[in-house]
């Protein structure tokens, strides 16, 4: 990270100015090297669509300057893309299901909607999406409200329907307004697969205070092909924030539709735990998407997932949700302790229940994470 400055001087300048500048550069290098040592490296790891980038966005909102108008506007194309992609997935999914269940007609769209559906599917397959207009919105809503599509949506776990589908469809009118500027909630719901590595630096006490920890947070892609890049980030990590979406127990991977998402997360978590470079690294497990988990548990039993096949429901309603959550949490705890050796005795391991879309919850959770890491830091410095 050298500060190598090669500026072209216009004409001959006095040497004192050069010396001043050189001294200034030296000072800055020194400052930075000193500062680097105090920066705590955090990694956001997890399988695809587990909520890592949403947590990343939340950190920007909470501890940095947030999103300015330009950035918010740049999300409009993403949100519109999500809408088109959703409707395309549902339409194509309905066609497939209609073919595979040739007898029943519940996945057959009505005659008028069929044509509109084909048109929208075509648009969804293009590279450049048109901006959402009133007419397109009406078309999309017609298709969305078609019983065949709603029936397909109930089987959305077999297709790759994004979690934001419901939210965007409900707010479709607002999204298509001419002077639409995405709200914070819209931005948090917007789904884009991350590729490569993204980083940000922040301090939990706020940007104006000078004291306090400085964290450098790295966000990565979660799909299988992205994981070979993780290894470049594994040195000197203070804490790994592992995101596991617990609502995905009946869904399959984007990159491999023959593999259950929770089983993949389980294997991935084990792999991460076994890495040599993480012997002293703290692990924060975020059991994410609790809001979706709450709604799903009463409709889809946990034992559809192989790892949870010994689950027995005991009651109904909120109690059942809590019971199911505790079951899942225990499974992850057991998994952690199965993969712990004597080298890892001092390692910190905490589990948090999160909903990455909920700003208050993420703020609270992060404050707890920060506290844990500060205590750990003091402990390691021998002061505790």
């Amino acid at each position: 990270m050298g500060l190598l400055c090669s500026r072209h001087k216009r004409g001959n300048q006095a040497t004192t100015e050069e010396n001043d500048q050189a001294a200034e550069i030296e000072r800055r290098i020194e400052q930075e090297t000193k500062a680097e040592k105090h920066i705590r490296k955090l990694l956001l790891l997890g399988a695809g669509e587990s909520g890592k980038s949403t947590i990343f966005k939340q950190i920007k909102l909470l501890f940095q300057t947030g999103f300015d108008e330009r950035e918010l506007q740049s999300y409009i194309s993403v949100i519109h893309a999500n809408v088109y992609q959703t409707i395309k997935i549902l339409h194509d999914g309905a066609k497939e299901l209609a073919l595979s269940e040739a007898g029943s007609s519940k996945y057959e769209l009505s005659v008028d909607n069929k044509e509109i559906g084909e048109k929208l599917s075509d648009i969804g397959g293009r590279l450049d999406y048109p901006r959402l207009t009133e007419e397109l919105v009406q078309d999309i809503l017609k298709v969305w409200r078609d019983p065949a599509i709603q029936e397909t949506y109930t089987r959305g776990n077999e297709l790759q329907v994004p979690d934001c589908a419901d939210y965007f469809m409900e707010n479709l009118q607002r999204l298509s307004e001419a002077n639409y500027i995405p709200t914070k909630e819209d931005v948090l719901h917007a789904r884009v697969r991350t590729t490569g590595v993204v980083e940000t630096q922040f301090s939990p006490v706020g940007e104006n205070k000078k004291s306090g920890e400085v964290y450098r947070l790295y966000d990565v892609g979660g799909q299988r092909n992205e994981r070979r890049k993780w290894i470049h980030l594994f040195d000197g990590v203070t804490a790994v924030i592992f995101c596991a979406a617990i609502s995905e127990y009946d869904q399959t991977l984007f990159e491999d539709e023959n593999r259950n998402r929770i089983m993949e997360t389980k294997e991935l978590f084990e792999w991460v735990l076994k890495q040599k470079c993480f012997e002293k690294t703290s692990f924060m497990l975020f059991l994410n998407k609790f809001d979706i988990f709450e709604k799903k548990v009463s409709k889809v039993p946990l034992n559809v997932c192989e790892w949870f096949k010994d689950y027995q429901p005991v009651s109904t309603g909120k109690q059942e949700v809590e019971h199911a959550y505790e079951f899942v949490k225990k499974k992850f705890e057991e998994l952690y302790y199965q993969n712990v050796t004597c080298d890892h005795q001092d390692r910190v391991f905490k589990i948090y229940r999160t909903t990455a879309l909920d700003q208050k919850l993420v703020k609270k959770t992060f404050k707890l994470v920060d506290e844990t890491l500060r205590r750990r830091n003091l402990f390691e410095a021998g002061l505790l």
Partner: protein, 466 residues
């Protein structure tokens, strides 16, 4: 006094043994040196395993001949000197049989890709044992029937049956080779196939002749000694001449034949002679970039594409751009040249699409399966869905961060320097890029003095790369 012809260990035997050892060393050099010189990463999947198994099988052939012909004199008989172990098992299913089976599968792959225009549907770890099954069955049968005498020799009818196997496999190899011989291969696959067949036929011929001589002139001792020596030397020659990497790594095999012009491996585009696929030249046009233009149009300009590629590589997301680039090269190959297209397609699939590929791209399961199970590798729209998905990904992910990165600034500076008037555009609306190659951001807690921000003057690569 028993001569060396009876108790083994004649000088000619040791000469033959050294020839065999030298041949094996030569084989190892031939197979590994090109990779070491050009620093090519180890290939994955059957591209690595089939040649590796061939090398192992070659070693087994040589070793089994040394042991079963009793070329080396041992002072005691050990249990592992059993004739059946070497002459039947190691020589057959683990040696010569394995060699022929590997080559048969490689030829079948070529047939499937270039004639049937689809990827070979059976995975190698299933097809190889299946191909080897007859040899294993035969070895088991021999082991049960025990027709070998204590000099490791069989009767004529067993020998005839034993020769049937290599002959059958060679016939199958000839059949597949003639089916593909009209294809215009760009690398010397056909030459290597014919060479393999010829040396095999030659070796079988030598084996048959030596067997006949042994049966008819058992009493002539020097003949025995000579045939032993000849067999081992021919086996050494076989293993070296049989081996080829042009099936699995055509680019590497291509470079190893020419005089080394540079230490850089050619790209597939360059090897196939696709225009404009090499490095940047002075004549490449610059581009007046407008950030709102669609990315696919911008990427048509070579300088922009290279700048964008560098940026993507710096944040570990380069594979999408490289893939896009190579698909563009593929599209320059005319439709009426299916062989070249298939080479390029196969190369792209092995590098970017196969699970576990070195630069695997981020595409959906459906798209990947569509490509891997396609019935026409030369189809012009094979990669359309994948390209669309990745352009979407690049658009929504990388493009935003690129405009505020140091690479774009460098690109604009270079473009400005190259243009007639040297007005440097004002960089308006400078925003922070979250990618590691960005300049310092205003909320950096260590920017305590409000030093006016200078034009970027430091190395923009992310600190995590150190």
């Amino acid at each position: 006094m028993a001569g060396c012809d009876v108790i083994r260990g004649c000088p000619s035997d040791y000469v033959a043994l050294s020839v065999a050892i030298l041949s094996f060393i030569l084989l190892l050099l031939r197979s590994t040196l090109p990779f070491l010189i050009y620093k090519v990463p180890r290939p994955k999947g059957s591209s690595f395993w089939l040649p590796a198994i061939q090398i192992m099988a070659s070693f087994n052939v040589l070793l089994s001949l040394v042991m079963s012909l009793n070329v080396v004199r041992f002072h005691r008989r050990h249990w592992w000197q059993s004739c059946y172990l070497w002459a039947v098992w190691v020589n057959g299913p683990l040696g010569f049989g394995l060699l022929l089976s590997c080559r048969l599968i490689q030829a079948a792959h070529l047939y499937s890709v270039f004639i049937k225009r689809r990827l070979f549907p059976i995975r190698s770890y299933i097809s190889l044992p299946l191909t080897l099954l007859p040899w294993v069955a035969w070895a088991g049968f021999l082991h049960i029937k025990q027709p070998l005498n204590n000099r490791c020799h069989t009767g004529t009818q067993w020998a005839v049956l034993y020769t049937c196997f290599p002959v059958l496999y060679t016939v199958a190899l000839v059949y597949i080779t003639t089916a593909i011989h009209h294809t215009e291969f760009k690398f010397h696959e056909l030459k290597d196939l014919w060479r393999g067949i010829l040396v095999t036929v030659f070796s079988i011929g030598v084996w048959v002749v030596s067997y006949i001589l042994h049966e008819t002139h058992e009493e002539i001792m020097w003949l025995q000694v000579t045939t032993r020596c000849v067999l081992l030397v021919v086996a050494g020659f076989l293993v070296v001449a049989f081996f080829s990497i042009s099936f699995s790594q055509p680019l590497v095999s291509d470079m190893s034949l020419h005089k080394r012009r540079s230490f850089n491996l050619k790209t597939m585009g360059e090897a196939l002679g696709i225009p404009d696929s090499g490095i940047l030249s002075q004549d490449d046009p610059t581009l007046d970039v407008v950030p709102n233009e669609p990315l696919d149009k911008l990427l048509l300009n070579k300088r922009f594409c290279l700048s964008f590629m560098e940026f993507a590589d710096s944040c570990l997301a380069g594979e999408s751009v490289h893939f896009y680039n190579e698909v563009q090269q593929l599209e320059k190959i005319p439709i009426n040249d299916p062989v070249k297209r298939i080479y390029m397609v196969r190369h792209i699939i092995e590098k970017y699409i196969s699970t576990g590929a070195p630069m695997e791209v981020n595409i959906s399961h459906k798209t990947r399966q569509e490509i891997l199970t396609t019935l026409d590798l030369a189809h012009p729209d094979l990669f359309r869905n994948a390209v669309n998905e990745l352009l979407q990904l690049m658009n929504m992910n990388l493009a935003k961060d690129y405009w505020s990165s140091i690479f774009f600034l460098k690109f604009k500076e270079e473009a400005a320097m190259r243009s007639v008037d040297h007005e440097l555009e004002q960089v308006n609306g400078w925003t922070v890029s979250p990618r590691p190659s960005s300049v310092r951001c205003p909320d950096d807690p260590f920017y305590q003095d409000h030093v006016p921000r200078d034009p970027p003057s430091h190395d923009g690569h992310g600190s995590y790369l150190q």
